[in-house]
C-alpha cells in the first residue's frame, strides 16, 4: 500500500510515523517545514475551558459535539498522546497538565514537554532565579521575574529574582539568533563556560530558569548543562522559531526518515486524480513539470488559515485549497469579532469528519480514502483553548489507524 501525507507539521509527521511503523509506504509532501519550528516543544491537550484546566482528559467529554475531541473520543486522545510522549521521551501525560513559566513570566498549562522545560513546573517550585543573556534578544529576565514574583499560583505566592550574563555564542557576534546560540551550546566546552556564567549570576532559588537555547542537535546537552551547573534548572521556550520546537521537528523527521519516509520538500500539492470516489494520486508542483504520485490513501494535514490550508479571498469566500472540501461555513460574514481577546468564530471554520477522519459532504465521505488531520478540522478555538497539538496528534493517529484498519 502506498500513501501520501500532505503537511510536515505535528499531524503530518505523526501520521507518517504511524503508517511507516506499520510497514506502509509514505511519501510526505510539504511546502514549508510545518508548524513545529514555530511551536513550544510541548504537547498541549487542553489548557483553558475557559478557565485553566488541570486534568484535560476529564474535561474532554464535556466539549460540544462538533469539537474535534468529541469526534475523536477521550480514549483516542489518551492513547495517541501517550504514545507520542513515550516515543519522544517527553515528561507528563494527557491526564494532568504541567504548569510552565513562559518567556513573558506567565504560567502556561500544557500536557507534555521536553524534560528541560518540565523541570520549571511551578507546581514543584516556589522560588525562581531567572537568568537572561545580554546577547540573546527576547528573553527579558527582569520582566519574567517581575511577573512571576507577583503571581499567586494555587494559593501559593511565587518568588523570583533575575540576573544577566554576558556570553558570546560566537566571537564578536552581538546579535546572534537563538539557533546559533543553541548550536554553540552543542559544544561541551562552550556549555561548561555558559554553566559557570549562569551559576555565578543566579542567587538562591529552588530552580534556575534560562532561555531555551541549551543545545539543538546534542540530545545530552541539557543533562550535561545541569550537571555542570550543579543545581536544579529549567529552560523556558522562547518565541518562534523556538529551539525546543525545532528539536521536536528534527526528532520526528529523523524518526520518520529512519523508518523509510520519502519526502518531497519545498513543493506544493496542487491537484489530485480520482476514480469511483477514491483518490488515485496527488499532483505536486515540482520544478519544470508537475509530478503525479500514485496512492491508495491520503492523509491531508495542511494546517488551517495560518498555513494556507484554508483561505479567505477578497470577497470573503472561504475555501479549502487543495480538494475543495465542504466547510462548516463558506462566507466570512459575521465570523469576525471586533473585541480584542474575544473568541473569533472564523477560527472554528473547517472540515467536518466521520470517525475515520474522512471529510464529510452531504452524502457521507467525500472520498472513501481521503483522511484529514490537524488544523484543518472544524470546531476548535485552538489558540484560546490550547488544544491544537492534541487535536493534531489524535486526529493523525486516528487517520493512520483507519488506513491500516482498511488494509487489514
Amino acid at each position: 500500500m502506498r500513501t501520501v501525507v500532505i503537511g510536515a507539521g505535528l499531524a503530518g509527521l505523526t501520521a507518517s510515523i504511524r503508517l511507516l511503523e506499520a510497514g506502509v509506504d509514505v511519501t510526505l509532501v510539504s511546502k514549508g517545514p510545518g508548524g513545529l519550528a514555530l511551536s513550544q516543544g510541548s504537547i498541549d491537550v487542553l489548557g483553558y475551558r475557559p478557565s485553566r484546566v488541570t486534568r484535560p482528559l476529564e474535561v474532554l467529554g464535556a466539549l460540544p459535539g462538533d469539537h474535534p475531541y468529541a469526534v475523536l473520543g477521550t480514549a483516542t486522545v489518551r492513547e495517541s498522546v501517550s504514545w507520542l510522549g513515550q516515543r519522544l521521551g517527553l515528561v507528563g501525560s494527557p491526564a494532568t497538565n504541567l504548569q510552565l513559566p513562559t518567556a513573558a513570566g506567565a504560567i502556561r498549562p500544557t500536557a507534555l514537554a521536553w524534560a528541560s522545560l518540565a523541570a520549571g513546573d511551578v507546581r514543584d517550585h516556589t522560588t525562581f532565579a531567572v537568568i537572561g543573556v545580554q546577547q540573546v534578544k527576547d528573553f527579558p529576565a527582569a520582566l519574567i521575574a517581575g511577573n512571576l514574583d507577583r503571581t499567586v499560583f494555587d494559593g501559593r505566592e511565587l518568588r523570583a529574582g533575575f540576573g544577566l550574563v554576558d556570553f558570546e555564542a560566537r566571537d564578536g557576534e552581538q546579535d546572534p539568533s537563538p539557533v546559533h546560540f543553541a548550536r554553540a551550546l552543542d559544544d561541551a566546552a562552550t556549555r561548561r563556560r555558559f554553566a559557570s556564567a549562569v551559576a555565578a549570576a543566579a542567587g538562591t532559588a529552588d530552580v534556575v530558569l534560562v532561555p531555551g537555547i541549551v543545545g539543538l542537535d546534542d540530545p545530552g546537552a541539557w543533562d550535561d548543562f545541569v550537571a555542570a551547573l550543579g543545581r536544579p534548572a529549567a529552560e523556558v521556550a522562547m518565541q518562534p522559531p523556538s529551539i525546543p520546537g525545532l528539536r521536536m521537528f528534527q526528532r520526528l523527521l529523523d524518526d520518520a526518515r529512519a523508518l523509510g519516509l520519502r519526502h518531497v520538500q519545498g513543493s506544493l500539492a496542487t491537484g489530485f486524480t480520482h476514480e469511483d470516489g477514491r483518490i488515485t494520486g496527488i499532483e505536486v508542483a515540482s520544478a519544470g513539470h508537475s509530478k503525479h504520485i500514485r496512492c491508495d490513501a491520503v492523509v491531508h494535514a495542511p494546517g488551517g488559515f495560518e498555513s494556507g490550508g484554508l483561505g479567505v479571498d477578497s470577497h470573503g469566500v472561504i475555501t479549502e485549497r487543495l480538494f475543495g472540501l465542504p466547510l462548516t461555513v463558506d462566507s466570512l460574514a459575521g465570523l469576525t469579532e471586533p473585541e480584542v481577546g474575544a473568541p473569533q468564530p472564523l477560527f472554528e471554520v473547517g472540515v467536518l469528519v466521520d470517525a475515520d477522519m474522512r471529510p464529510l459532504g452531504l452524502d457521507g465521505p467525500v472520498h472513501t480514502n481521503l483522511h484529514v488531520a490537524g488544523g484543518i478540522l472544524a470546531g476548535a478555538q485552538r489558540a484560546r483553548e490550547k488544544s491544537g497539538d492534541g487535536i493534531a496528534v489524535a486526529s493523525a493517529w486516528r487517520a493512520a489507524e483507519s488506513i491500516l484498519g482498511g488494509a487489514r
Binding site: T27, K31, G32, P33, G34, A37, L38, R170, D171, G172, E173, P176, S177, V179, H180, R183, P240, P241, L246, D254, R257, R262, H263, V264, Q265, G266, S267, L268, V284, A285, S286, A287, G288, H289, K291, R294, S307
Partner: protein, 417 residues
Amino acid sequence: MSRKRAAELQERLDNELRRVSLDHCVKCTICETACPVMGVQPLFGGPKYSGPQGERYRDGASVDHSIDWCSSCGTCTVVCPQGVQVAEIISLAKAVKRAEHGGPIRDVLLTQTTLMGKAMTPVAPLANAALGNRPIRKVMEATFGVSADAAMPPAQSQSLHGWLKKRPKPSKAPTRGSVVYFHGCAGAYFEVEAAKCAIEVLEHLGYEVLVPPQGCCGLAAQSNGLFDQATKAILDLARALAAAGKDLPVVSTAGSCVGMLKHEAKHYLGVDDPILDEVGVRSYDISEFLMERHEAGELDFDFRPIEMQLPYHQPCQVRSQGMGAPASDLLRLIPGLKVVDSNATCCGVAGTYALKKEKNAVARAVGQPLFDMIDRTNEGLVACDTETCRWQIAHETKVDTVHPIVLVHRALGLSEG
C-alpha cells in the same frame, strides 16, 4: 560595470512578481534556522536580512557587501513556508551589485567551464599534475584568488564526444523511442565516466540516446551575478537541446544544471522565452526519469545485487527541484545496497563558491557535517548527483564519489564493481 545594466536589473528587482513575494515574509526566521552559511559564518546577515528584509530598504541604494557570503544554494526558498522567493531575490540583488560595482576577474574566469574543459582535455595529465601541485596552486591563489585548498575538476584525456565518435554502434535496436541526453560541461570533459554510464544505461533499457552538441547552462555565471552571460548560455543550450528532436524527454546527469532548464533560469535570471519553457517542461534528472517510468509500470530493472553500505548525498540544487529524492529511491531498488541518506543541507561547494580564496573555509565548514557522516557510513564509495559536489566530497573525505547512475550501470551488469 554598467550603470545602464544595473538600472535594468534594479527595475526587475523592484517590479517582478517574485520580488513582491517579500510581502509574504512574516519574519518567522525559519530560513535562518536552515541557512547553511549563516550557521558557520557570523559575517553573513542571513537569508531573511539579505533577501526580503533588506530588499525593502534597497530603494535606489546598493546592497551591502555581506550579501556576497550567500552561496546561492537555494535552501531558504525551499524551507520558506510562506512561498517567499528568498534565494531569487538575493540572487537578483547580487546581480545588481555586480553590475554597479563589478567584481574580481576571477569570478568571470571560474564560469568559463567549457573553455576549461576544452583546454585541459588534450593535456589532461599535465593539467591534473599542475592542479595537484601545491606551489602552483599557491601562485594561483595569490594571483587570481582561487583557493589553494579547493577541489579542482579532474581532467580526462578523452572527452565524451571523442568517445561517442570512436565507439561502436549500440548492438541493441531501441524499443522505447528516443531521449535527448544533456550531459553538461562536466559530463563532456570532466565526469566523462558518469556520462558514458548514463548513455549505456539508457540504451540498455531500450532508448535511443541523442547527444547533440551542447554548451554550458550558465549556472556558474548566474551564481556569480553575471546574468547576461548566464542568459545567453541557457538560451543557447535550450536551442541546442530542442534541435535534437521535437517533444523528446531531455534526460540529464548534471544534477544542478538541469535545474537551470527546469526553473532557475526563469526564476533567477528572469528569462522569459518560449524555447526555455518548452524544453524546461520536458527536462528530467536521470533518476527522476527512470523512477517515473518505473512507477508508471513501463520499466523494470533486472538489477544484480551490490552488497555495500552507500552514503548518498542529495545536493541543495537538486533538492530545490522539489521532486523528492529519486536517486535515493532508484538506488534502493538495487538488492544488497544499503543506502544511507545524508540529509545534509549542502556540501558547501555551491558551484564555484568553495573555489574562492575568501570563501573556501566557510564552504568546508558548511560541508563538515556531511563529511563526518560519510566518514561514519562509507564502505569505499559515496553517491551524489552533482559534479562539483562530488569533487568537493572526494577532496574533503578522500572517498571515491560517483553519480548514482554509475551504480545503476553496475547493477545492470554493464560494468564490474
